[in-house]
């Protein structure tokens, strides 16, 4: 049974429709991508899932039912707007926030320290939060999200202030969490991160769900008849059945005209005595799909 089931949620702020009939579900042991351009309704959807906002209509089931005070202890949340108490020492801040998630003080202390070591922040534990750099605060915020070992982890732009080393560490951590059976929802604009991490995704634009499914299905759905080709030989300007050619060094992307197959193209190239180093069906990147969907939606609007 999915950990989170979102069914037909709608949320209006006055005359503005922030979320319009969005549905999806998230399983335990997967990283689920919640994508969309700025102002698409991602954060509002998340706030509805976390019971910060009540939806105007629709339902959310979390860990088998509506949100309760007890379930809050089982949720780790990294909000888009990062927030820590700036005027108190880092360790005290993290331990306090951990105890608010139902942890005993001594256990919270122990776990916070383990994470501080792992996140390379242990030397900073007595420093006031405001003395930490943005990246360090981001890591501290991640500790707050994970320290109470929640069943459900909701993270909004987790890599925004991190350098490549820390980004990799957080990725490893998220994979670890997923492999241990946690449910993870990740909101982001960084499509390559989604491609790398997410098992399934939903794309929201203008409050509406535009795409929903596994990463592979979504890409297949948007795959146009195109071929990625590598060859040391120059290609003729006109190839029968090819609509357009894009070249980057010795790599080409060939878009086919409707009604022509990749098999025909391969035969044509072989007949023309062109040496082929790589020939594969080109799948669109998530970036391309994102732009494509959002632009189409913008045109409709």
């Amino acid at each position: 049974m999915p950990s989170i089931i979102v069914q037909n949620i709608v949320k209006n702020f006055g005359s503005y429709i922030a979320v319009d009939d969005v549905s999806f579900s998230v399983e335990a042991g997967e990283i689920f991508g919640l994508l969309g351009p700025n102002g698409a309704g991602k954060t509002t959807s998340i706030r509805i899932i976390l019971d910060i906002f009540k939806p105007d209509s629709g339902t959310v089931s979390i860990l088998g039912g509506p949100m309760s005070e007890e379930k809050k202890n089982n949720i780790g949340y990294l909000p888009e707007e990062r927030g820590l108490y700036q005027d108190i020492p880092l360790e005290r801040c993290l331990v306090y926030l951990a105890t608010l998630k139902g942890m005993e003080n001594s256990l919270a202390q122990e776990r916070v320290n383990k994470y501080l070591v792992r996140f390379d922040l242990i030397e900073w534990r007595k420093k006031k939060v405001k003395e930490l750099s943005k990246g360090m605060q981001q890591k501290a915020q991640l500790i707050t999200t994970l320290v109470h070992q929640p069943q459900i982890i909701v993270i909004d732009e987790p890599f925004s202030a991190l350098d490549p080393v820390n980004t990799q560490m957080v990725k490893d951590l998220l994979r670890e969490e997923r492999d241990s059976g946690k449910t993870i929802i990740m909101c982001t604009h960084q499509m390559h991160q989604v491609e790398e991490l997410c098992d399934r995704l939903v794309l929201i634009d203008h409050g509406q769900s535009m795409l929903y499914g596994t990463l592979h299905d979504v890409r297949k759905q948007f795959a146009k008849p195109a071929v990625a080709l590598s060859t040391p030989d120059p290609l003729p300007a006109l190839i029968p059945g090819v609509d357009s050619i894009k070249q980057e060094n010795s790599d080409y992307t060939l878009h086919l005209l409707p009604g022509h197959s990749t098999q025909e193209l391969l035969q044509t190239l072989v007949k023309a005595n062109i040496h082929i180093e790589k020939f594969e069906i080109a799948m669109p990147t998530l970036d391309e799909i994102f732009i494509d969907v959002v632009q189409k939606q913008g045109a409709v609007q």
Binding site: Y77, P79, G83, L84, I88, Y96, L100
Partner: protein, 404 residues
């Protein structure tokens, strides 16, 4: 319930352990002490303890003796030297050997006529000192009890017509208590309310709110904060009252302050019963303002408006004192925002019917509960708003917020 206490203790420690709080605690007695010292010094500078002459040509005083000095007095009193003629006295005044001289007229005993010639440096104390000197020497030979009574004056006790209430005219504490307590109340309300407001606005500004709200319920969060900030205010108040009591213990040694022992327990209870619900009411309202305001400075300005009605009874204090059952006194003592100051003040001067006390305190308690409820509601709507205020319509519209 555990989370409520966590919020409570974090909020309390957060304020009390700050350097700013310790500074605020100490600044009040230091400020009052400084004002008292400056006032004392300005009075002391006008006093002059040097010699004053007098000419008693008609021997009204026989064998004059100096008034025995009070050991503990911090202010100097002039000593008096007799001159046989005005010429000698004037010459000494001119050469500043004496600061002034008095001339007792021939008919002094019948018409009390005395002439005073002052030099430039004459102190403001010489007239009353000479009065004491005359009184002391004129009464010479009378029994000590009589001298004492005439020197100290009467101990007037004013009783209300129904005989249930009495007030010693020189028991200034009974009158000053509601004033002092009222001022302390206003300061404490401002401090605690200010802390609450600051805490809520801070959590909005530093974006901790979303983390908190996904960890605890809004009522746990708001309840813990209101109670903690109430206690912060009370901590401050208790320490100040401690300083005040210490001052009362020592000040009478130096300055005559009248009776201090007759503080009525029932009036203290009345103050506590009025202050506590009023405190919760105002603190919660300030919390609500914090939740609706978009930045700390704006919230502080709105909160300032709350102090205004609380201090109104001070402007009308003479109306309350001289006509404690009049419409102004009655209205101010029953209106919730003015009641904390007006009710205890009015109780000093009249017997307030029990029903009025019950209604006033009942109303305050009801408003306190309403205020906490409203704060929770406004807070739920306003907590994640940045740069946009919460409107009244939204607060009272059902279903627009996160329900429990």
């Amino acid at each position: 319930m555990k989370k409520f206490w966590l919020i409570f203790s974090q909020e309390y420690k957060r304020h009390v352990l700050r350097r700013r709080f310790i500074f605020a605690i100490l600044s009040m007695p230091i400020f009052v002490g400084f004002i008292a010292l400056v006032s004392f010094l300005s009075v002391r500078m006008q006093y002059n303890g040097s010699t004053v002459g007098y000419i008693d040509s008609y021997s009204i005083l026989s064998n004059p003796q100096p008034v025995p000095e009070k050991v503990s007095s911090l202010l100097p009193s002039a000593n008096f030297v007799a001159y046989s003629s005005e010429v000698a006295a004037r010459s000494d005044l001119n050469s500043e050997k004496i600061q002034a001289y008095f001339i007792l007229s021939k008919d002094y005993l019948s018409n009390g006529e005395v002439t005073l010639m002052k030099g430039k440096k004459a102190g403001s104390n010489i007239e009353s000192d000479f009065g004491s000197f005359l009184k002391y020497n004129l009464l010479a030979g009378q029994p000590a009890k009589v001298i004492n009574r005439l020197t100290l004056g009467n101990n007037l006790i004013v009783r209300s017509a129904d005989g249930t209430r009495e007030l010693a005219a020189n028991n200034w504490m009974a009158i000053a208590m509601p004033f002092i307590a009222g001022i302390l109340f206003i300061i404490a309300v401002n401090i605690s309310g200010g802390y609450l407001l600051q805490a809520v606005v801070e959590e909005k500004e530093n974006r901790t709110m979303e983390i908190l709200i996904t960890s605890v319920s809004p009522s746990q969060l708001m309840g813990g904060k209101v109670i903690a900030d109430l206690l912060v205010g009370l901590t401050e108040l208790t320490i100040w009252i401690g300083f005040f009591l210490i001052a009362l213990r020592f000040v009478p040694q130096w300055v005559s302050v009248g009776q201090t022992s007759n503080i009525d327990v029932s009036s203290v209870l009345l103050m506590v019963a009025t202050f506590l619900p009023a405190f919760v009411m105002i603190a919660a309202a300030m919390g609500a303002i914090g939740a609706t305001a978009t930045e700390a400075r704006e919230a502080q300005q709105i909160a300032g408006l709350f102090t205004l009605p609380i201090v109104v009874p001070f402007w009308f204090s003479s109306a309350i004192m001289f006509n404690p059952n009049g419409p102004i006194a009655l209205g101010l003592s029953m209106f919730p925002l003015t009641a904390p100051i007006a009710l205890p003040l009015r109780a000093v001067f009249t017997n307030i019917p029990l029903w009025q006390i019950v209604v006033t305190i009942g109303l305050l308690c009801a408003l306190a509960a309403f205020s906490v409820w409203l704060a929770g509601r406004v807070f739920r709507i306003g907590m994640l708003r940045y740069g946009k205020k919460v409107s009244f319509r939204e607060v009272f519209r059902p279903q627009s917020f996160q329900g429990k």
